[in-house]
């Protein structure tokens, strides 16, 4: 989508997610990895839910995963989406483990299947923000 035509809501980083948003702008999917137990998680929680360590490092994820589940929205909750309804919304399970909310692109809604392999697509929607969507893996 060309930047000047993008009319859907655009999220911006907060302190906890700054590296995630910055990484996306540069075409990288960034995750937090627990320095103690090595498990990956999305930003937003300071403490590792497994080992309770608060020590973390940012790492680049592969950008590959599988379509864990999806839906197709018909209800018009938000006026900005009126022109694109029905559209899909999805949860992708990344190879590293975390599950990420997204949309699937380059695939008809009727062709979506749970567990299909997908890969990240970096969609620059404003100067500030690049959204990470996914497409069927080639």
């Amino acid at each position: 989508m060309a930047e000047q035509e993008y009319s859907l809501p655009i999220p911006v980083a907060d302190e906890a997610s700054q590296e995630f948003f910055d990484g996306a702008k540069e075409g990288r999917l960034m995750l937090l990895r627990c320095s103690q137990c090595g498990r990956h998680r999305l930003p937003g929680r300071e403490r590792c839910a497994d080992c309770w360590s608060t020590e973390t490092e940012w790492v680049q994820a592969s950008g590959r995963g599988k379509l864990y589940t999806f839906g197709v929205m018909h209800q018009k909750y938000h006026p900005a989406f009126a022109g694109v309804t029905p559209y899909n919304f999805a949860i992708v399970e990344l190879e590293e483990g975390p599950r990420l909310v997204t949309n699937i692109v380059e695939c008809e809604n009727d062709d979506l299947r749970t567990d299909m392999p997908v890969e990240a697509v970096f969609d620059s929607v404003s100067e500030e923000t690049t959204l990470i969507r996914f497409r069927p893996a080639s």
Partner: protein, 396 residues
Amino acid sequence: MDDRELKGATAITGLGVTEQGKVYGHNTAWFAGEAIRLALDDAGLEKADIDGLLVNQGVTPLPGMGGIDLQNHLGLTNLRLLAGMQVGGATAGVMVQYAALAIHHGMANHVVCVFADAPLREGRSGGGAYGGAGGGYVPPGMSGLYTAFGMFGINAQYALAARRHMGMYGTTNDHFGAIAVGQRAWAAMNPAAQQRELITIDDYHASRWVAEPLHLLDCCLISNGGVAVIVSSAERARDMKQPPAYIWGMGQGHPGDLKRAGWDVDTQTGAPIAKERAFQMAGIGVDDIDVCQLYDCYTYTVLVTLEDYGFCPKGEGGPFVADGKLGPGGSLPTNTGGGQLSGFYMWGMTPLAEGVIQTRGQGGERQAEKNDVVLVSGNGGILDHHSTLVLSPQPS
């Protein structure tokens, strides 16, 4: 402690259900007060007999912290037990459990558990009350991604859960539809139900998509109203106005969700954890259950809950319900008041209220033939929180 000593130690002795649905002109506190007034009248108790109050607030606020100022709205003095409680749709069952434990251990005599909500406003859509787009606001950080990708409301969350089950087990909309059709047939026999016109499987498929794979007829109603129950000791219950609905077993299950690979949170409820203790306490197995009142925010919730109680093997909930066994005349009468799909939506109070009615044998035209063991489930969040109650007209 042998938890079998709790079997039949307490009972539900009062039930108050206000008018439900598009009932305008009252606030949430009025509905709560009206439900409590009706429950006291039903139980044959006076206001002064109440020494415990547990409150579950819906999406519209009740007065005070978590609703506890209802005490003063209703002039309930010198209470021995008071709390606002919240585990979503599991709360109704959970309140009854804490009330039963407190009564059994002598902390209170008659405890009122109440839920009320009034999200509907005349001339305005009620859908936004349960997960609209927040007026277009985009929260900063990762939360903003939900808005950016258009994942709005509880409907979207349950669509994801239902789709995962379909993908894993081959569950279909025909299976979901069988649940909707059966419950509407029950609702047709319930004068208190909001939707009483019979539907067919074709009507189900023709109802509009909300969020695929959920049709409109997969989704619960939204209601203004209130429901209250009173819990008392079995000893007191014997001499009260209504046939006691003895509490045989109770349990909770909160599996947790780490939102990553390996967690089947969309196809697993807390029922396996909750039922283990509840069935042990009641001394029953799943085959002993005569009537089910299962939390049904969506048709899918009923299907997955049946699996998790062991009525059928995991993943076979679709074929299990397909023959209409949950509806009138079927082998497993379920949600006999129409449930939340067709009756009214008062969170966990919907299955609990009908559970009490069936246990008492007061179901009229829709009364199940056999009601020795009645199962009531509650479900909060996106299958995150579960409560189990086993009720019976027999003390033991």
